[in-house]
């Protein structure tokens, strides 16, 4: 197990190196070069010259790259041109909000998607199956930000059931402990703050869950259909086992394997979706921050975010691989 972790962490190094080369070249290709990337597009020539010197742009390329790499290794992702704060600090500040949102979205997608896909497969061709399949096909085709707008328009603006923006009502003075609003409320005993945070989370999480949900429903359904016909399910039936045992131990357990992998691969699309949904709901997580960074051409933030995301993605897939090896003995590392 430990060896798998170490090996995967080592694999992260070439990925990040490759990414850093790409990003370095990208920064170099930006209109105006890295100086304007750091200073913004309205920099004066004197400022550009100063930055170029400071960045060592008069030096050979490999020296420049080496410096760039060193900075990243020290988690020095530069300074945001919008806020003037170090990019890394901005991320750390906002990351918990996005984690909360993404976790809830994945939770919704799995909790609804797996049973739905399973029962759809069991009643193949029935009304539930037709509804689930066509629903998930339509779900994939709805642009996430449009769904978010509609949800907000109906449930927040028209019906007023949920708040329409932010993470917490301004009237609530929540104590900040971990940065995770729901968790903080529980830790400090301010349950009204937790509740308020949950209400703020629901609409964006539902919008964000739409695509993972559609994927998980279809994946589970296809997987169950395939496993149902496996020889070992027939063996289990031949043993006269109770239906519930056949279904849970022999069908579902095997059918979950590809779904677990899919959850890991969905992380990427989840983060894209977070940028869109967070900005619709002005959620205040990394997504909203990136949205404003895109608007303001805040390149240090974008570069930092790409490196940051790559790390998160690899780590999440590492976790998924570990979970996978727990349920599939064939890939277990001894």
């Amino acid at each position: 197990m430990l060896r798998l972790v170490v090996r995967r962490l080592l694999q992260l190094i070439p990925t990040l190196l490759g990414l850093s080369v790409l990003l370095f070249l990208w920064l170099d290709r930006l209109p105006g070069g890295p100086a304007s990337a750091i200073l913004g597009e309205k920099a004066t020539e004197a400022e550009v010259a100063r930055i170029n010197r400071a960045l060592g742009l008069d030096q050979p390329v490999y020296v420049q790259y080496w410096r760039f790499l060193k900075r990243i290794a020290e988690l020095d992702l530069g300074t945001s041109t919008q806020t003037g704060q170090p990019v890394w600090d901005e991320f750390v500040l906002r990351f918990p909000a996005t984690v909360e949102l993404s976790l809830l979205a994945i939770l919704i997608a799995v909790a609804v998607g797996v049973p739905l896909g399973y029962f759809a497969a069991r009643n193949r061709g029935g009304w539930l199956d037709v509804t689930a399949v066509s629903g998930s096909l339509v779900g994939i085709c709805i642009p996430v930000f449009f769904l978010a707008l509609i949800l907000k328009g109906i449930f927040a603006v028209q019906l007023g059931i949920f708040p329409s923006y932010g993470r917490q009502d301004t009237g609530i003075n929540a104590t900040d402990v971990t940065g995770f609003a729901v968790l903080d409320g529980i830790l400090t005993g301010e349950f009204d703050a937790s509740w308020d945070a949950i209400m703020h989370l629901i609409l964006p999480a539902v919008a964000l869950a739409s695509i993972p949900l559609a994927v998980i429903v279809r994946m589970t359904r296809a997987s169950v259909l395939e496993v149902q016909d496996e020889d070992y399910v027939r063996t289990a039936e031949a043993k006269g086992l109770k239906r519930s045992v056949v279904r849970s131990r022999h069908v579902l357990r095997n059918a979950m394997l590809p779904v677990v992998t899919a959850v890991g691969l969905l992380t990427g699309s989840l983060l894209s979706g977070a940028v869109l949904t967070e900005s619709v709901f002005s959620f205040g997580g990394i997504g909203s921050f990136i949205r404003t960074a895109i608007d303001g051409r805040d390149y240090p933030v974008l570069v930092g975010f790409i490196m940051f995301i790559a790390m998160v993605y690899v780590l999440i897939n590492l976790l998924v691989d570990l979970a996978y090896s727990l349920i599939d003995p064939r890939v277990r590392v001894h």
Binding site: E230, D231, Y232, R234, T235, A236, E237, A238, K239, G240, L241, K242, R243, V245, R249, H250, R253, N254, L257, I327, D328, P329, R330
Partner: protein
């Protein structure tokens, strides 16, 4: 009375909009207590479908089962699904062809054995594990307590088949159905598995329905042999009688197609020409006619009936049977 009586069993796939195809077309045979009965034929003749129909393992949708199958006096096809479930694994059990795909890859061998003990013998926990280890030991798996914790991919092919056999005999069933249990194994392992089956049958008095295309398996194991062609029994006889006097041209051809070590050098092999796809519907005549050397016009006037042209109890479905013993085989020991 026989333990299992199969009477005019038919299995039809499709229908309702799609073209129906009849995989089993009126198969009748019997299995007595403690008897080993062979169901022989090439792939596609309906032998596996027959066994799955008897076990109740065919999918519920998209096919119709006709005829009767009585197990110990009760009709299998009219009994309730839950009664059938109680019967499966305890009274009648089955061993499958491909041991790797027939075992659940993500569940330890031990659980796959104990779950059947829990279900039918009410055993739990340590007692079930002990019995499971005993079963594995009995089918010749060395170091059974360790094997219980292992997964199918960690076992060799022969071991996997032994494990499957252990599961099948866990509740001392009265009927064991083995569907080509040795096809996926190495030749040396095949012999061991057959030996094991023979031993279990002899010791327990279990009846065994052996589904196979391998005449060697038949010669070594079966008391009674039914030869299937295109969903119908074409010849049924005791083992000695069948090997001595194969009378249906198909059975005759099957036995004749086995290469012989004592044949003179240079003598050509005698395959049956064509494949099972070159067939005509039984309603029009003998399905084997397109491949048959002895085919004549009479073969095409309706389904040939079973008769006993040679000896009592030796049934043959043919209008022009092989009655001259020119190429009869030696009787195996």
């Amino acid at each position: 009375m026989s333990l299992l009586t199969v009477d005019e069993l038919t299995v039809t796939f499709g229908g309702r909009g799609r073209k129906a195809s009849r995989a089993v077309d009126g198969v009748s045979f019997e299995v007595d207590q403690g008897q080993v009965v062979g169901l022989v034929g090439e792939s596609g003749c309906g032998k596996s479908v027959t066994s799955l129909a008897l076990m109740g393992l065919l999918p519920a949708k998209g096919l119709t089962i006709g005829g009767r199958a009585e197990f110990d006096g009760t009709d299998l096809f009219t009994m309730s699904p839950s009664a059938r479930r109680d019967l499966r694994g305890s009274e009648m059990a089955m061993i499958f062809q491909d041991p790797l795909s027939s075992l659940n890859p993500v569940v330890p061998i031990g659980v796959q054995v104990t779950e059947i003990l829990e279900r039918h013998r009410g055993m739990k926990g340590e007692a079930a594990r002990k019995e499971a280890a005993h079963l594995l030991d009995r089918v010749g798996i060395p170091d059974p307590t360790r094997r219980l914790k292992e997964y199918p991919h960690q076992l060799s092919g022969g071991m996997r088949q032994r494990a499957l056999i252990a599961m099948a005999v866990a509740c001392a069933p009265r009927l064991l159905i083995a569907d080509e249990p040795t096809t996926a194994l190495d030749v040396t392992i095949q012999a061991q598995i057959l030996e094991l089956l023979k031993e279990l049958v002899d010791q327990e008095g279990t009846a065994l329905l052996m589904i196979t295309h391998d005449l060697g398996v038949v010669a070594g194991l079966c008391d009674q042999v039914n030869v299937l062609y295109a969903g119908k029994v074409v010849e049924s006889a005791g083992r000695r009688e069948l090997f001595a006097h194969p009378t249906h041209p198909y059975a005759h051809g099957l036995l004749g197609s086995i290469p012989r070590l004592d044949a003179p050098r240079g003598e050509p092999l005698n395959p049956i020409r064509g494949s099972i796809n070159d067939r005509i519907a039984w309603a029009d005549g003998c399905a084997f006619a397109p491949r048959c050397d002895r085919y004549e016009m009479g073969c095409l006037s309706g389904t040939p009936q079973l008769g006993e042209p040679r000896a009592a109890g030796h049934q043959v479905r043919c209008v022009n049977p092989v009655l001259d013993d020119a190429k009869a085989e030696e009787v195996p020991a």
